[in-house]
């Protein structure tokens, strides 16, 4: 991934920053320029809660080449306490410890090593609590 792209996503990847519509209150992660609900264009930056639960999940046995060293790994759709949903890996747990409804917290980890000329790529994962 090129550095400018990586840099611009740091507020989301490192700090879980979302955009809250000042018109209708809908929280968007990632932030949007136009509110999906009310078509508003004014937002304030809010930080998302770190606690949530697994809505659904899978164990990836055949990953794309850049994740090959991690297989098998769990990817889940997590719903955070404010109702926002995101897709992320579930770290530090054997695959059979994750099921629908499992409580998780968001943590900060390295996600991809990338090719040798690329920056190391960090971001959020979930871990079972």
């Amino acid at each position: 991934m090129i550095t400018p792209r990586y840099h611009r996503e740091i507020p989301q990847r490192y700090r879980l920053e979302a955009g809250k519509c000042t018109g209708c209150g809908k929280v968007h992660f990632p932030p949007r320029r136009v509110c999906k609900e009310c078509f508003g264009r004014e937002f304030e930056t809010v930080t998302m809660p770190t606690m949530g639960k697994v809505l659904t999940y899978t164990v990836i046995d055949i990953p794309p080449a850049e994740f090959d060293n991690l297989k098998p790994y769990v990817v889940a759709i997590v719903e955070l306490e404010n109702g926002v949903r995101l897709t992320c890996m579930v770290a530090e747990a054997p695959p059979d410890k994750v099921e629908i409804g499992t409580k998780v917290e968001m943590i900060y980890r390295r996600l991809q090593t990338g090719r040798e000329w690329e920056v190391l790529q960090y971001g959020y994962k979930a871990r079972v609590i």
Partner: protein
């Protein structure tokens, strides 16, 4: 809008076509289609060609021009259409609208994908998902549908064995299709014991990586009558989009874009799903066929799995589904799939489907989906 008919079809065999380059896939399919239609080359005004990712798979863009050049059609207006795995369906809709509008009389709708050309297919296909907020976190396409499957299992009690019945049924149909990539019957044990790709889905829950091309010719019904062709009329065309990130959808067991596209197509055709005799649906994974059938209204939510086990979607069932073998057995060259579905409808409606021929069907429906449900087209064809 003018009434539009499909008057010719052509395709390549689907499979690992190591000796056939991308450009030849379209050239073969379009030449077969033009020959089948009986239309002289000079009357063809335009082409719409669906292709998901020739840039990633083959490092080739500017696709419509090179494909038409090698098909002997240089000079016509040609447009490449992309909507991930729904690219073919959208190419068909684009061609349909151009003829219906009166802008052109003879228009080709084609689709191609050359997936076995050295690129990492898992990586290329993942570009149909949200790169920054899904793919970055290690998800794959089988993984997205696996998450839908787990949610469906939790809500409706759907089982892996029920999913396996979808694959077994589609291979049973595909075994009767000479153009299918994997025209062989399989057993439940083959599916259930296959290597896991993304649990709960195994290799035989997934459509294969395929090279292939497909093409159909559209024209006004009035012109089709002059040519003395059987009249296969397009009576409904629906298209819808949705968020491409699965996590942005309210109910993870549903694919709302399919329902939206189907409602538009059925409203145009002024019929209900009960009037449809058979359908081709987007079974990129076994769970996808079940979700699509539930969205189309063929079965109530949560009922498609048991209906499949009971044979309702088999060739002799009350709603035969994927008589071609579907994506699972026929193969899934992504950009070509939507057009190949239309070809199956035409072959069934004209009585040319050989060993898999249904008993005089009159209305068929084709549903083609992009990604995990970020886009879908639905087309309804009727023989008169």
């Amino acid at each position: 809008m003018r009434e539009v008919a499909v008057i010719g079809v052509g395709m390549t065999k689907f499979g690992e076509l190591w000796d056939t380059p991308l450009r030849d896939l379209f050239a073969i399919a379009s030449a077969n289609c033009i020959e089948d239609s009986g239309v002289e080359r000079d009357r063809i005004q335009s082409a719409y060609i669906g292709c998901m990712s020739s840039g990633l798979f083959n490092q080739q863009e500017h696709l419509a021009s090179i494909l038409c050049d090698y098909a002997g059609l240089a000079g016509i207006a040609a447009t490449r259409v992309e909507s991930a795995c729904a690219s073919g369906g959208l190419a068909f809709r684009s061609a349909y609208l151009e003829v219906a509008s009166g802008a052109s009389d003879f228009v080709l709708a084609g689709g191609v994908e050359k997936m076995n050309d050295g690129a990492d297919a898992t990586f290329c296909l993942a570009s149909a998902a949200d790169q920054e907020y899904e793919v970055y976190h290690g998800i794959t396409f089988p993984g997205l549908y696996a998450m839908i499957a787990h949610a469906h299992m939790a809500k409706y009690g759907t089982t892996s064995e029920q999913l396996a019945h979808v694959a077994v049924k589609n291979h049973r149909h595909g075994a009767k299709n000479p153009n299918a990539q994997f025209p062989m019957e399989i057993t439940l044990n083959t599916v259930l014991n296959a290597v896991r790709v993304a649990s709960p889905l195994g290799l035989f829950d997934c459509s294969p990586v395929t090279d292939g091309g497909a093409c159909v010719m559209l024209c006004p019904v009035e012109e089709a009558k002059k040519l003395g062709k059987p009249i296969i009329k397009v009576i409904g065309s629906g298209h819808a989009t949705d968020s491409i990130a699965l996590h942005d959808r309210p109910d993870l067991t549903t694919i709302p874009v399919v329902k939206a596209a189907a409602e538009r197509a059925l409203a145009q055709a002024k019929i209900g799903i009960k009037n449809v005799d058979f359908c081709e649906v987007h079974d990129c994974f076994t769970i996808a066929e079940l979700c699509c059938l539930e969205e189309l209204g063929v079965f109530e939510r949560g009922q498609a799995a048991q209906a499949t086990v009971d044979g309702a979607t088999s060739l002799d069932g009350k709603m035969p589904v994927n008589t071609s073998g579907g994506l699972k057995s026929k193969g899934h060259p992504v950009g070509a799939t939507g057009i190949a579905q239309i070809i199956e409808l035409v072959e069934q409606l004209t009585g040319k489907a050989g060993a898999r021929q249904l008993l005089s069907p009159s209305i068929g429906l084709a549903q083609n989906m992009g990604g995990s449900g970020g886009s879908s087209t639905v087309h309804i064809l009727e023989v008169s």
